[in-house]
Symmetry: D2
Subunit: 383 residues, 4 copies
């Protein structure tokens, strides 16, 4: 499986083509829209979220709710486009009015202008914007429709906002907790108390014209052993997940299982001893590895965390330089979010879902989900 996505933040639409998706997967478009809307929620989002209300349109590859094996095209139209058409039209438009000549620190603006030889960061930021993650979420949600057939489910929640950390302990098996957080917490936080403090952290940032980042976690349940491979570096499951997650706008760190904490413990406190039970087969009492050993899923939950830096568009402007005059200038203050970590957790989940769907197809052969399911049951004795 592979996908390409395209689209600018103020362009006509965001589009993805997903090639190699198996036939016979039932797709409920409302499941995709539901996850898209979760991406737009979250305490600390700006006003644009109210404008967008993303919904996906399917242009190909699905017929009467079932995939056909043909490439699937997902499109999210930008409702804001009408206001931007005269500045963004493909063939003829006003490129002066919305020119951005003062690159914003923390964004692709400066490096992008230099690389692509632009004197207008508009041509960079339109594509570099985290708006692009909407379509990646749609792709991930599509992949979840496949994963679901195999019992694989993904959960996302927020574990840190700025200086506030979730301290309450929780079991990865307590999936209702995660579901509840998604439906009822503005920060996708499983702990009410922590959530209050996190909101305060966001409020502080808002008051001082600043922004705030955080850490999100994705948990994948019922992942069968044997996805990914130890045989070649670029096929390792953890490596593929790291690439997908680090590619998300604002992510500066990724960890799996204990992650950095594993580096600070003795080996005997890290490695998950192996047990066997007639009913469930091999199992572990701990899951410090986060479900991946030697680049292969080991049958335990896959647990990934990512660090999101604070949103770089601040109301308190950062110092920069005009790229035409080389004179000091202040970076533009655009309408923006204060905190996007809840949204980021949804994007992470999508990124991980895509990787899992991909390695599942690689393992089982991906022409038809019907055959995949039969092979799956046979391999894992789950008839």
């Amino acid at each position: 499986m592979r996908f390409l996505d395209a689209g600018e933040t103020h362009g006509k639409a965001l589009i993805a083509i997903v090639e190699g998706f198996p036939a016979h997967v039932k797709i409920d478009i409302e499941n995709i829209n539901r996850i898209l809307q979760l991406r737009q929620r979250g305490y600390g989002r700006g006003k644009r979220m109210e404008i967008e209300k993303d919904r996906v349109t399917i242009l190909s590859g699905i017929r009467n709710s079932f995939t056909t094996g043909a490439p699937i095209t997902l499109m999210i139209e930008n409702r804001d486009y009408e206001n931007w058409k005269s500045f963004m039209d493909a063939m003829q438009c006003d490129v002066d009015t919305k020119k951005v000549t003062v690159p914003r620190p923390g964004h692709a603006d400066l490096a992008g202008c230099l690389k692509y030889e632009f004197d207008d960061a508009r041509n960079v930021l339109e594509r570099a914007s985290a708006r692009e993650t909407a379509i990646r979420v749609a792709v991930g949600a599509l992949c979840e429709e496949l994963l679901k057939m195999f019992g694989i489910k993904l959960y996302n929640h927020v574990v840190e906002i700025g200086r506030v950390r979730l301290t309450k302990s929780y079991s990865f098996d307590d999936t209702e907790l995660f579901e509840h957080a998604l439906s009822s917490s503005e920060l996708f936080c499983i702990d009410k108390e922590a959530e209050i403090q996190m909101k305060q952290e966001i409020d502080i940032a808002r008051q001082i014209g600043d922004s705030v980042g955080g850490v999100a976690e994705v948990i994948c349940k019922n992942v069968p052993y044997g996805l990914g491979s130890h045989v070649h570096w670029d096929r390792r499951l953890d490596a593929q997940i790291a690439q997908a997650v680090m590619s998300i706008q604002s992510v500066k760190g990724v960890e799996i299982g204990l992650g950095f904490e594993a580096a600070r413990r003795f080996g005997s406190e890290v490695h998950d001893e192996i047990y066997y039970d007639d009913k469930i087969g091999f199992y572990r009492k701990t899951n410090n590895a986060g479900g991946i050993e030697g680049g292969i899923s080991n049958g335990m939950d896959i647990v990934v965390r990512a660090a999101f830096k604070p949103i770089p568009t601040l109301y308190k402007p950062l110092k920069s330089v005009d790229i035409r005059t080389f004179q000091p200038a202040e970076a533009a203050v655009e309408r923006s979010d204060i905190c996007a970590v809840p949204a980021g957790s949804i994007v992470m989940r999508a990124a991980v879902a895509y990787v899992l769907a991909n390695v599942l197809i690689e393992r089982l052969g991906g022409d038809s989900a019907k055959t995949m399911l039969e092979t799956f049951k046979r391999i894992y004795n789950k008839e």
Copy 2:
């Protein structure tokens, strides 16, 4: 550019084919061997390191010290192979004597046996072993020969071992510090005092039959702006680095620049403001981004850190299960290292070097390093 590598830990040899490497790069094989030997050093290594003394053989793609544009084959022969030939021969061998039926926690053993349908983890561990990193280091060292032509240099050092952290502050510009650590510190640690404590941590682990992990850092100097791209998720430089680094055996976390710390600060404390100077062009006074913004190198040093879990082969055996009988058993205690973080830092450097060489070629066109250099000078006005 692309590469495949192959080889088992007790097999004949480790081999890599690097395809798409530019012509006209002068290769000093001793530079590669020097880095290979650094990988074998480090306080806390076991005795195997003394056996191996890796040296690379070049089988193709280089003639009279210059690359020809043809695929380059690097080979590291396993000196230990003679002792293992009768257990590892491709065509006929004794597969019983060295059978491993008790999978070791923390390794690919169990998941690998289940995935590939083996009842002998030998067939998995031989490939999953960190021994494979030797050839990846050779590939990285080859890439450094190219990067050097463009002034790009990589440094690696160790910043944490177990519970001990390097607290001394240092400048990324103080490259002599890193070079000195590499040549004179058994832990590639830039601070003598921290090194002493780190060694103590390793000694404790050795005494209790345990192992210890840590954190390593790679710094890339003189990386030109414009490598990688914001336009597509899988071309983002940080994503590519994360994949390469997370694919290293034992790595459980990767971070760039401030990394997880960025999630805990306000935006105004994170983003690197932009300045301009007639002589040096655009610059920053801070480098919290670690040299990458929007998935593109921004001209600042690229800074990557990775968390290495403790080595999973302990002298104090971990609990496991025999995969033939499903009865509890103790994981094998093989000759092993106590701590491999210094070696890991060398592998990290190699992984990052490969990614940088790749995006440099993508940016400049990669037929001939001569043309690349001319294009480079023209683009960056460095005549």
Copy 3:
């Protein structure tokens, strides 16, 4: 550069995302539409061509007529979709009325149904249809906009229809001949007399309810030496062209330069001797190699020919079997063309244009067409 395309013949739209296309290429959308319309012309086409009148919509990657380096999305809406919506809707539709249970020989129908486990060839033929070539033509036309900046031009014409062969000799330098054929011959044939006979061949086929194939040729002028590479099999230019051309619906053979004729001559009658002239550099007096030696363009015109089988949908129905009952049945007689070779020649040209653009980018680095052009001039001394 890479692209994915998607879309069904009676679906909403055909879509392509082209990733890795350089910035700063001026795109005239009417050039793309003009080539799209050429694909729809040709003596022997059925009535659908009148319905479609394809026009491309650009959804991303181009702003004010210039590419930005971001992925470019091209879309061609199917005007026929309104009539098919109730049978093709992604979420809910009538899948019975348009069911195709008798696979048509010569199409993907049977193999596709078996592979993807369908009892309705509609789910296969909608994607397998040559309708898909419309979007590939758009991608190729986009690539021609880039190639044009480097002086590279492509020409296509038809050299055989059924049993009629173009016998008139012509020079590849006589580009007006090809241009004239494109604008004034219904069969893109450079010889009036041959064209008359070719039309007769098509008329015969029409009268007997049959179809007819042919051979088309693409000539690429001003291709610089050095595209593609001898160093690895899958980077050879001829191999890449062969893949792209053979992937076109109905193509059963591809040849470069003399092609199969080369196999029937002595070596001294085949190989193009090398000469040198102070003004033009190295040159040949013959071009039997078709511009490619050792997998690399040699500076001469690239000449490719492809054999198109007759269209498999006949008015005189072919024998087949109902896939539900396994009883003999006649393959459906759908509205169709008698001959699609002229259209095929346009698709071939697009396929070759994509490959050339790709290897040009690989050779020069593909961030910005401005830099590419400077590098090009420097390498080829064309200031």
Copy 4:
């Protein structure tokens, strides 16, 4: 699955790494060696063939005759290397004595020197040489070991040499005919009379200091339906085969089934009508499509033909130019073959075997051949 190969014609060795090959395939190295030796046979070969006597060494990925899922390294040492060491050594060698400054028409020499900026075609020809096909044959032979498990067998023979064509008709089912040709005909020709004439053609070429090409055919038996896919151009089986075959040195044309002949017939004479039989399922009475419809294998034999141009190194030297002085000169006359089409047919077979193995893995999932076989039997009801 993917593979990279490397090595120069007078270098130490040819090497290939095959990544993604399934575990549990039994490999008989003598089968590979047997096919390697077939490549070296054939009426019209020069003396070098006697020097080489290729044998493969396995450096990784196979243990006790079974694959382990790890990357497989194949190596063929060049026995001639000792004589060339002083001119080819990677680190230090005499680059003057064997300098080639007059590029040979029909080879990569000129384009390669210009592309890679060499004034010595030695640096190009060493890699561009058809010697490289030896390792590709080894890779193909390895793939045949996998294909064999699924009943898939490949046959190759020669159908044209220069102006002589095999006119005797034959059935693709008469596999003994092909086997017999391979073991007893110096030209892998199934017809004794044609072979005599073909040899005469080669003798004529030898006498006049010329060379001669021809056409070879590969037939794949028992290929299951459903390999490759219609859903995306680059996944079409015919396109993949065309790429692999056209990438072979000297190939200038590729055709599948009727190939170019299909373009010259009416549709009703081309398309293979569909029948059904309770025992064998769907079948055809003709196989003009060569086993592929819509980019997917249709269960019939896959039939591919390729045109090989005459070997470009002639004893009667061709005109060329010295690339240092730009003065006319004669191309070097090296020890060479007169005709290499029989060898070429072996290389073709290997190229096709690789593609088939690849699409088989894609269809069935490729971790373990044991699971593949179970899935295969289930899908195709062949228990």
